[in-house]
Symmetry: D2
Subunit: 326 residues, 4 copies
Amino acid sequence: MNSDIAQLVSVALYSPKPDESVAFFHSLLGMEISHREGQSVYLRAYEDFYQYTLKITEAAEPGLEEITWRASSPEALERRVKAIEAAGLGSGWTDQDYGHGRAYQFGTPDGHRMKLLWELDYFHAPPELKSKLRNRPSKRPLRGVPVRRIDHVNLMVSDVPQNRRFMTETLDFRLREQKIGDGGVEVGAWLSVSALVHEAALMRDATGARGRFHHVAYWYGAPQHLLDIADIFSERDVLIEGGPAKHGTTQAYFLYCFEPGGNRVELFGDTGYLIFDPEWQTVVWDVANEVDLEKSSIWFGGQLPRSFYRYGTPVVPGHGLVEIGR
Amino acid sequence: MNSDIAQLVSVALYSPKPDESVAFFHSLLGMEISHREGQSVYLRAYEDFYQYTLKITEAAEPGLEEITWRASSPEALERRVKAIEAAGLGSGWTDQDYGHGRAYQFGTPDGHRMKLLWELDYFHAPPELKSKLRNRPSKRPLRGVPVRRIDHVNLMVSDVPQNRRFMTETLDFRLREQKIGDGGVEVGAWLSVSALVHEAALMRDATGARGRFHHVAYWYGAPQHLLDIADIFSERDVLIEGGPAKHGTTQAYFLYCFEPGGNRVELFGDTGYLIFDPEWQTVVWDVANEVDLEKSSIWFGGQLPRSFYRYGTPVVPGHGLVEIGR
Amino acid sequence: MNSDIAQLVSVALYSPKPDESVAFFHSLLGMEISHREGQSVYLRAYEDFYQYTLKITEAAEPGLEEITWRASSPEALERRVKAIEAAGLGSGWTDQDYGHGRAYQFGTPDGHRMKLLWELDYFHAPPELKSKLRNRPSKRPLRGVPVRRIDHVNLMVSDVPQNRRFMTETLDFRLREQKIGDGGVEVGAWLSVSALVHEAALMRDATGARGRFHHVAYWYGAPQHLLDIADIFSERDVLIEGGPAKHGTTQAYFLYCFEPGGNRVELFGDTGYLIFDPEWQTVVWDVANEVDLEKSSIWFGGQLPRSFYRYGTPVVPGHGLVEIGR
Amino acid sequence: MNSDIAQLVSVALYSPKPDESVAFFHSLLGMEISHREGQSVYLRAYEDFYQYTLKITEAAEPGLEEITWRASSPEALERRVKAIEAAGLGSGWTDQDYGHGRAYQFGTPDGHRMKLLWELDYFHAPPELKSKLRNRPSKRPLRGVPVRRIDHVNLMVSDVPQNRRFMTETLDFRLREQKIGDGGVEVGAWLSVSALVHEAALMRDATGARGRFHHVAYWYGAPQHLLDIADIFSERDVLIEGGPAKHGTTQAYFLYCFEPGGNRVELFGDTGYLIFDPEWQTVVWDVANEVDLEKSSIWFGGQLPRSFYRYGTPVVPGHGLVEIGR
């Protein structure tokens, strides 16, 4: 897959309960704390190669601070910056964040904050975290059910086609799967820059709000680990929204839950399927059709509740988990 | 990963027992037969998108007929053909094989036959094989423990550096992992054109022979399936050479066996790890060092027998499975 | 566990679509057909040691024909027959069924037909089914996702305490778990004669009907196999009622589906937990309490639909799957 | 299964490195420390119902202190004590150990110390360990890959038939499986008092020594957990002797390792198969026959090294792991 973007680097989230949020990712999902600075804590999964993939910052409301992408080369970075500027969505260069070099900031049409960069810091394990596996950046932790690496991000948008076009035309993503609903309205898009079916998904915000965050996903790679973490969540009052179950779209074996700050987190039990075909034709699910509607969301394993389509962060008044009926 | 090659399309093997070979892939590994022509049978796994990924042809000896790669674009195909011609290893264009358009044939320095193409036929499921999963090219079969897709190919070579340079410089692969043995001799190389750690591996042929075939690998994605197929193999006299166990290199959870024609087949129980970093630094295992020697081959799960390094197809006299002590 | 009953031997079901029912158990669940006689087909899982564990007989309506139990010894058989006769529920001896010796027939207070015996026929594999595992009565099949052995039976009853007392006092089962609902009404009972948490469960029939059948369960032992069979069911129009998910009661990782004749079948993904304590205190779930209500049915993995409590076989008019909303 | 013995309660081991031994069971296998007293630490797995199942006591050499069994009833206890006394192997009553009531001490013919009792203390979870699963005695821990319960014990004996007869005739075990070697010599016996294939195994000590300990086994129930713990062991210098692999005898999916004190520990990845048949015929493996020899030890997954048959605790001079070649 030849794209000017190489990968998802990290997701920065706001949490009104930062200590509890960090404890969730550290103790239950086994993530390592790389750094603390100001009101922020930086974490990584044990097979994440860079300095961090998650940043938790204290704030009054949960939600997305920023998503960081890495370009495929210095030249690709320049090309994308020009495209973003041409689209009128750029905010200029910054070099202020921990673990990253110079980065270009911008927003999606819906207003989600993003950053694109080439230079960044690799994680170098201190002796006590060093693995004997030369291709593993740090030892498998002994806490909780440890996730292996960041996988993707999902954004709620007020207008799927507009934001999807920004992702494909301006950012050079490929459209891998798509859901078309009643009246031909595009309600979901799965986009990627690699063999993964998605590093980014866009779904229509059923509340009509703009620029909200749906979830960040971390990857396990073994289906059993979803059963293990679900067992732990049920025992420790972590709310599971859906799963363990299998999506039709992406074929992911998934579990959705909420971290204590209120942001949704997805855990990914296997790889789904991978795309190597350079002429990939977008898989289109016609969700006005009942079979596609049912099979695309849940291939097996129960149902996704109403909250899945209405709850995002920050929370829209009247659409909190309690009001939706969770 | 921006490479002029997009993916491994198919592997063509010779078998002295073609009916038994086809029965092995069809009944035990659940592959579908797409086509029969002359002395050849074409098969695919249920999540392979093209017309076939395996071709079995009757011959006096087992071994490799040909490996087919797909370029990233028509332009990429032209670039690579020029590079191959410049290397003096090209054999010219052909359009004679089933399911493929015009293709350029060539050999590796060691003499393994390969083919590069852009045009090829997709598999279109007949109604009885059509899946309700729009991203799955055909229904999950009810036979054996069905593999999901082709994963990679492993070649034995007389000279690793020479063949590895051909793969990276002429074919545009990236070197992901490497084993360096006594005296700094390179004894293994793992190469890829996507997020997979390898679509091709090269390993030194301990017999000194040239151009032999080590194995083709099919992917399951769920560790349990290696236990299932191992149970079936043990019950039905299929010789398991190693595994289920986990390699250090690539982190694959693997099983090696022999199909009835004598060619080695690997089954891949999970995804190992994936590479998204555009500046990936080759992971180097120093197998003159005892820890690396042990951990790179087998991270856990027993040992690889002598045959793993000496048995390939065609068989070198004196190095058949019986002589090696299997 | 010292009980006069040793184990569940077999379940005999009626099916209005016997050919399709047999095809379901044979092709998808990989069971072997042991025998055909009159309108009946006899099947076994590949690790069932006796001649059959399932009998399918053609009839106008789905439902239970009979459940067969084996006593712990000839003396235990005599003791239980006396107890059944004393309870006024016996129907006398028979020696007419295939694969069984002399058996004593009786009914539960609710009218479910049962049979108790000592003598029965073991399965002796013909050469083509013989396993190299001396503790496995026949080879692991290559069809579908093969179940390993019969596990338990679940009966809907009009009055749980009455039927539960019959099971414990007359048949010598132990009460392992229990659900108590509003007003102290017992709504569910899990009973066993071995380390299993249950070979028999009783649940209150929400329709008030008597003597209906809820489900028979077959055992996989590996959680992945529930994902595998769910994938196959979703692709082939087999209705999944609930799961793969984990019950709180028994801690079973389960999936419920309907065989084509309309009877419910449970597949058991692991062993749950086992009971070895000779003084086991019944685990009591207070389902008038909200936490227990939720956690006992589903520890994780979605919800059980209304049909789970109202649909049984034979079907009560107005409570078919369509009317219930499946 | 009607036996005068109900279950294995606990195993007490000596360790020359008690702190490291306890850390191994606590941090890697997730066991809870119930109690400390003198030079001893008492531990339990999170689904063990009694106060402890493992006792580690400091001593100069590793090895077995004692195995504790629970009788099926107070009367069964009396019957067995009489039988043991009649066999001349009793040592009298004691009520001195933590968590146990009055117990009768004795030795096997080979000299392994054992204890039989009826009264003992149940574990009652403090609030912070209390599970919402009413059938789970304490929360699933967040440390390592937590084992669920004690499973069985394996003893090395100088004379299998003599010790096996003591187990069946004096202690009321049933002989489930058996290995017969050259010249009809019995080299292994698997014995149980429940549906498990074994709570006790006896294997011939190839060094000819008497009364040594081979291993204690803890149960996971999910095959993936053996891969998880193997990954952790490989990273942290815990020596894996064999597996993850599947035995033919018992059909267990196993892993053998050594705790830091030198005692062998088995981890059990699934349930193998269960025995409910009251007339069970001992499964006899003829290990003078090559197929049975190979298939009984390892059904799939590599080989068991020489140490498996020669290394036990306490260590026989000349047969330590280093001398044997590990």
